[in-house]
Amino acid sequence: MEALMSRVLACANKVSGKMLVLPEGSDLPLEAFQFDSLSIFAFMVELENEFGVSIDEALMNDTELRTLQSTASFVASRLAGSGNGAVG
């Protein structure tokens, strides 16, 4: 999960233009990246491209994408569901 978190963090940094770091074992709220109405979509696309998963349903109830940890958990569940367990 740490490796997956690291990849999610890289996606968030890339889209937001930030260079935030994540101390081992901690979490970050996505608010830290100051996504706006456009960049949150760009973040979704970045995750989809990086992991090959679909994000739409996650946002239907707006619960999964609140922190890096919950985002990584969501991505992991999608990867497991698609039979692609190679999450690094």
Binding site: V15, S16, K18, L38, I40, F41, E57, L59
Partner: protein, 552 residues
């Protein structure tokens, strides 16, 4: 009535109108918007008019309530010794207070100057001074920006303006404005040189709003969603003034939020949402976000930039959403053409999803479109009619150039296709002018070039608009460095960013041996645009603003 008409104390401009539409032929009630609010207030006092979804606390006004608020605000303006034609600057994010301030200006005989609160303060001050702003109404959070406008005799925050209005019992004393009086001023350009300030008369504003209300069949109970800025024509003149003309109800948001769009449509049972192509693309690319919600939405209106067939098709097939595309500019008081809203499905698809380009429909009543050049061929879209601007303030030369031959020259290329039931439908095919359309906002590339020209250590340069999935078009530049120049991509971008708003600054720089030009020296901007293909999918973010936000 034809010929020159006095529109203000310091300038005279001709009124341009279409054959068959005699200026002054509209009834007095339809020659200005003054009185529209009072008629709705009398006919349906409890009908809702404005809901501020992002106002704190959320706020809803009926027509009667809004009418009373507007009259009191107009009285406050006049208590400041406002003279007819005085310019009142408006600086703020979308809110009910902002809309009420515009209406108070119209009612009270002032000219509302629409300032962009996201502009650098120097530009805000420059534009306020250029237009001779005497009073400045602003968001309380923008007091520092307002302070820079030294020309204004009085600054007043919107909330304070509302408090003053609450203590006023008087009605405005000045009589109603003349149809030819200036009503609104919008800016279309002017980064470093003389701004182009578009002056719209009460007549033009009223005729456009009334035509739009009829086109969209806006009436009591019709609910519109406003997410576009009120300092632009579409946000203000369609979703507020057009809705008001028909007696509709507008839900005002500070901006578009893709994650909240469908929940908002569902919660408030919105019928029409006015958007721009890049926002529609986000929605069409993410059909899962809809999740069956928002069935009340009859269609989305799209304007400000050409809508691609792919977006229209995706919206149709993935969302079941019809898009009614319109076309216009500040210079023609918002919309000139709009696709009919009630086309049969087959004809809708013919115009929007099955051709090479989407259509902007025929001209609205009261306006006339001509394609310059041979019949049936591509040419510049030229417009005349009841809604064309009075002119550019303090810019006789630009006004005369724009109205060469008695028609307003749009700078856009198009061609006409015969409609099934007669009349021409217009397709927009390109541009004559050197502009970019970023998220629906027009950016003049020559103004970007002006700033690039202040860079030390470079031999030649040119900016260009390149395709970008997030904002439709972004700005890039090619630069030829002097030998030994230390200029880097980062230093050039920062140089521009210090002098231009983020939207107008180049986001990518490519160093070249030579700027592509025609034999006559004209920059080949389309060719330059190809240099930025690698950035087509990249979202550029304003790091400076984010840093400031964090610090603030």
């Amino acid at each position: 009535m034809t010929g020159d008409l006095l529109l203000g104390s310091d300038w005279v401009r001709p009124v341009h109108h279409a054959p068959g539409y005699v200026f002054g032929a509209a009834s007095p009630e339809e020659s200005t918007l003054v009185g529209v609010l009072s008629r709705h207030a009398a006919a349906a006092p409890e009908a809702p008019f404005l809901t501020g979804l992002d106002d704190a606390p959320q706020r809803r006004l009926t027509y009667a309530g809004a009418h009373a608020e507007v009259l009191r605000r107009a009285a406050v303006l006049q208590s400041w010794n406002l003279r007819r034609g005085d310019r009142v600057g408006l600086l703020g994010a979308n809110s009910v207070d902002f809309a009420l301030a515009v209406l108070a200006c119209l009612e009270g005989g002032a000219v509302a100057v629409l300032l962009n609160h996201r502009d650098p303060v120097e530009r805000i001050a420059h534009r306020a001074e250029f237009t001779g702003v005497r009073f400045l109404l602003h968001d309380s959070g923008l007091a520092a920006a307002a302070e820079v406008c030294g020309c204004a005799q009085r600054l007043c925050a919107f909330d304070e303006f509302g408090r003053l209005a609450a203590s006023v019992n008087d009605k405005p004393l000045l009589g109603p404005p003349m149809p030819t009086d200036a009503a609104l001023i919008f800016f279309t350009s002017g980064t470093t040189g003389m701004p182009k300030a578009v002056v719209q008369s009460h007549y033009a504003v009223a005729q456009n709003a009334i035509a739009l209300a009829r086109h969209h069949r806006i009436g009591p109970g019709m609910r519109l969603l406003c997410v576009l800025p009120l300092h632009h024509v579409n946000g203000l003149e369609f979703t507020i003034l057009g809705a008001m003309s028909g007696g509709g109800h507008t839900y005002v948001c500070q901006g578009f939020d893709g994650l909240k769009f469908w929940p908002l449509v569902e919660e408030h049972q919105i019928h029409i949402a006015s958007l721009v192509p890049n926002l529609l693309r986000l929605l069409a690319d993410r059909p899962g976000l809809r999740g069956g919600r928002g069935q009340s939405l009859r269609y989305a209106v799209s304007a400000a930039a050409p809508l691609s067939v792919a977006i229209a098709e995706n919206a149709w097939t993935r969302l079941g959403l019809r898009i009614v595309q319109g076309y216009g500019l500040s210079e023609v008081t918002n919309f000139t053409c709009v696709l009919p809203a009630d086309l049969p499905d087959a004809e809708y698809q013919r115009w929007m999803t099955q051709g090479r380009r989407t259509s902007i429909g025929p001209a609205l009543p009261g306006q006339e479109v001509r394609i310059a050049g041979a019949p049936g061929e591509e040419g510049e879209i030229c417009i005349r009619g009841n809604s064309v601007m009075s002119g550019y303030l303090h810019n006789e030369l630009a006004t005369n150039e724009a109205f060469e031959g008695g028609w307003f020259h749009s700078g856009d290329l198009g061609y006409a296709v015969a409609g099934a039931t007669g009349g021409d439908f217009i397709q927009v095919s390109g541009r004559v002018r050197e502009i970019a359309k970023r998220s629906g906002a027009m950016i003049h590339l020559l103004e970007v070039d002006e700033v690039l020209g202040t860079l030390p250590g470079i031999l030649d340069f040119a900016s260009a608009a390149f395709a970008n999935r997030w904002v439709d078009e972004e700005i890039g530049a090619v630069v030829v460095k002097e030998p030994g120049s230390a200029a880097t991509e980062e230093s050039i971008i920062e140089h521009c960013r210090q002098r231009l708003p983020f939207a107008e600054s180049p986001k990518a720089i490519v160093f070249v041996e030579e700027v592509p030009r025609t034999a006559t020296g004209k920059v080949r901007r389309a060719e330059i645009a190809g240099s930025f293909a690698a950035h087509a999918d990249r979202l550029f973010v304003d790091r400076r603003a984010r840093a400031a936000t964090k610090e603030g």
